[in-house]
């Protein structure tokens, strides 16, 4: 994405609400540039894979033509969610079938390398979910293999293609928050990370998240997505991380923490505080940038800016939609605000109509159509994944870990 320089962005903003909103609205709700059909196979149709199938089905011209899963029950459940697709038990069979032009991969993290390498070799376009891998070695291997891939390869760090996040980044990069003083993020969700099964062997396979040898823990599995938002906005990576974690709620002999907290420190001393738990859902998932002029809070389908009383007021704010949060008033960051305002639908359009997966997949499909670079490349995903792996290591060892991104 071409970087907006501060001067041009603010000159557009100074023109009023129209100028501010028009920048992101060009692609906010997904112009599809596909000419003809794109046949997509989805590999791994657990919950995330089925979500991808549903969102792919909303993109005009995209046909989910194949579904692949080693687990027979999941495969048959996946096939019930798509019309006219063939089912395959292995990626090799699916790639050989001649039924797919592109592949979306949503298998467990530790299996990404094998699946991705096979897809890259086949020359298909590939969308790979994040985190990219569970080890540094696999990150490097996937990155190396992607360089020789014949098709367009996109990684699923979804903030980068999310219209709300793109809009807010424009504000951030043009100094709306002024001096960045701190960063905070959380992901709280009441779940238990157990996938039930009556069959012990299947249970072992399905519950990889609770196996420390195959899981990146909460910092890696969930944190990676959110850490990347800060990397993308600040265009920097943290240099070290420390953290703690423990099993606070689920007394079932699990060896992967259900609650964690960590601090990622950047070269200039700025810190990102991150917390995640599967024992409480309060606040959900969000990221916050605290600056001397304003704070920006992002919550995937929504975004807000909270201005300090002494921050200068810009013309467009007069027309902006606002929401009250206890004692704070947030200016809603809405992609396509001008158009919505003209239609009297500003309030209706406060949240994105589609989940982040839709925009990530749409960006990939458009990159295929345009033969362009997608919003998130494999190398960007590899860096974020390495940060997630380092954070998990810091939490599980109790030691401060230096983040080594050399090689990328």
């Amino acid at each position: 994405m071409a970087e907006l320089d501060r001067r041009s962005f603010l000159s557009q903003a100074a023109g009023g609400v129209a100028a501010i909103a028009l920048v992101p609205s060009l692609n906010a709700f997904g112009a599809v540039r596909l000419d003809g059909e794109l046949r997509v196979g989805v590999v791994g149709v657990g919950r995330q894979g089925r979500t991808l199938m549903g969102e792919l089905g909303k993109i005009p011209g995209v046909i989910v033509s194949a579904v692949c899963d080693v687990d027979e029950r999941r495969l048959s459940s996946g096939l019930r969610r798509v019309s006219g697709a063939e089912g395959y038990a292995t990626v090799a069979e699916m790639l050989k079938s001649g039924r797919v032009d592109a592949v979306a991969v949503a298998t467990p993290t530790h299996t990404h390398r094998e699946v991705a390498e096979a897809c890259f070799r086949s020359g298909k376009h590939v969308y790979l979910e994040c985190p990219l891998a569970h080890t540094r070695e696999d990150c490097f291997a996937i990155s190396a293999a992607a360089r020789d891939a014949g098709g367009v390869v996109a990684a699923g760090l979804q903030g980068r293609s999310n219209p709300v996040y793109q809009l807010a980044r424009g504000f951030f990069r043009t100094d709306s928050v002024r001096d960045l003083v701190s960063m905070r993020a959380q992901n709280n969700r009441k779940t238990n990370w157990i996938t039930p099964s009556n069959d012990p062997a299947r249970r072992e396979e399905l519950n990889w998240r609770l196996d420390p040898a195959r899981s990146n823990g909460l910092a890696g599995e969930w944190g990676t997505q959110q850490f990347d938002v800060f990397h993308w906005y600040t265009e920097r990576y943290p240099v070290r991380v420390s953290g703690v974690g423990s099993v606070r709620h689920y007394r079932d002999d699990r060896r992967v923490d259900d609650t964690i907290a960590c601090t990622l420190v950047f070269e200039d001393g700025a810190a990102l505080q991150y917390g995640a738990t599967i024992a409480n859902s309060y606040g959900g998932a969000h990221e916050v940038f605290f600056g001397s002029n304003a704070a920006i809070k992002l919550a995937w389908s929504h975004g807000w800016m909270f201005k300090e009383a002494d921050a200068p007021t810009q013309g467009w704010e007069v027309y902006a939609n606002r929401q009250q949060f206890h004692n704070d008033e947030g200016i809603t960051l809405i992609a396509g605000a001008t158009k919505l305002a003209e239609q009297g639908k500003l309030k209706e359009g406060i949240g994105l109509p589609f989940p982040s997966e839709y925009y990530a997949l749409l960006d990939w499909v458009n990159a295929i159509a345009d033969k362009a670079t997608p919003a998130c490349t494999i190398d960007e995903a590899a860096r974020a994944t390495l940060v997630g792996i380092a954070a998990n290591k810091a939490i599980t060892t109790g030691k401060t870990v230096d983040i080594d991104l050399s090689g990328f």
Binding site: V82, N198, Y250
Partner: protein, 308 residues
């Protein structure tokens, strides 16, 4: 609260769902039972997003926003729901109809205005193509709304999940109006639901409860109920009292059928006989009239009693 029950509560489909799973009489360990409850939460919320008439990204919105005459490809599960909805329309003599959403718009239950409904044929509002797995709106003004069957349909899917994991005893309800009872409660008794002065003690059934006055508008002269008569050629959206009933409860093997039929009986009690004659299967039905008296219209399942 019983110690042997895994509980999960969540908001979806415009109401609060509650899931109760018996931990003690299942083959899974307690953590896995909790995971099944979480999985049910995710399943229902997923279908909420797929079916909501209010979400711009839902399949329902996609169908309603696609020009009339243009087929919309839908997945097999969604097709099953559409086909079942159409079957229920036929079985109830048109009293249940997902195209009744059109009238909800016309009356003012939705913000979007769809204009004059004269000449519209709601009994021929959609076309399904099983081979291509498509649904087509036959009139630009038609608006599909699965509100009368969605919760029951999802509860039938929940039942499949429970069976897959070997959970024999469970009770799930959405807003107390769509209910799935499986097996027994932890004490070994049939799950019992009280409606008015009677109890429905159901071992393996779905229960649908409809009340025409649950939500209503007042246009100054008339009370307009949220259950409308899709057969009404005037499309006036008059308050439906279904022969004087203020609440209808239907028990059936399928929660989706129970849900849809309870709506149809609210519209017209005669739809019950019509559905039975046309082969809807065994069921029980209790109605409460505006006089507050409960009447058992039929109890072929033997689930109605005055006490548990």
């Amino acid at each position: 609260m019983h110690g042997g029950l895994a509980r999960r509560r969540f908001l979806a489909m415009g109401c609060r769902f509650e899931v109760l799973l018996d931990r003690e009489h299942a083959s899974l360990d307690p953590g896995a039972i909790d995971a099944v409850a979480i999985g049910i939460d995710e399943l229902v919320v997923d279908w909420h997003h797929r079916l909501s008439a209010f979400e711009r990204g839902s399949i329902t919105a996609c169908i309603n926003n696609t020009p009339a005459g243009e087929p919309v490809a839908i997945d097999p599960e969604m097709y099953t729901l559409c086909a079942l909805s159409e079957r229920m329309r036929v079985l109830t003599g048109g009293c249940f109809n997902i195209a009744a959403g059109t009238m909800m718009h016309a009356i003012g239950f939705r913000e979007e205005s769809i204009g004059d409904l004269r000449g519209i044929d709601l009994q021929n509002a959609i076309t399904l193509d099983e081979r291509r797995s498509t649904i087509t709106r036959n009139d630009e003004r038609v608006r599909i709304d699965f509100g009368g069957i969605a919760k029951g349909f999802v509860l039938d899917l929940v039942r499949e999940e429970l069976a897959e994991y070997g959970i024999g005893n469970a009770f799930v309800h959405g807003g107390t109006s769509s209910i799935l009872a499986v097996g027994t409660d932890p004490d070994g008794h049939d799950w019992c639901v009280r409606t008015g002065s009677v109890n429905l003690c159901a071992g393996e059934y779905g229960i649908g409860i409809s009340e025409p006055t649950g939500r209503e508008l007042n246009d100054g002269n008339n009370r307009i109920g949220h259950i409308v008569d899709p057969r009404d050629r005037e499309h006036s959206g008059r308050l439906i009292v279904g022969g004087g009933d203020e609440r209808v409860a239907v028990v059936h093997g399928s929660a989706a059928v129970a849900d849809a039929l309870s709506t149809a009986v609210c519209v017209d009690e005669n739809s019950l006989g019509c559905a039975i004659d046309r082969g809807i299967g065994e069921l029980s039905c209790v109605v409460r009239g505006v006089d507050g008296v409960d009447r058992v219209l039929i109890d072929r399942l033997g689930v109605v009693s005055s006490q548990c």
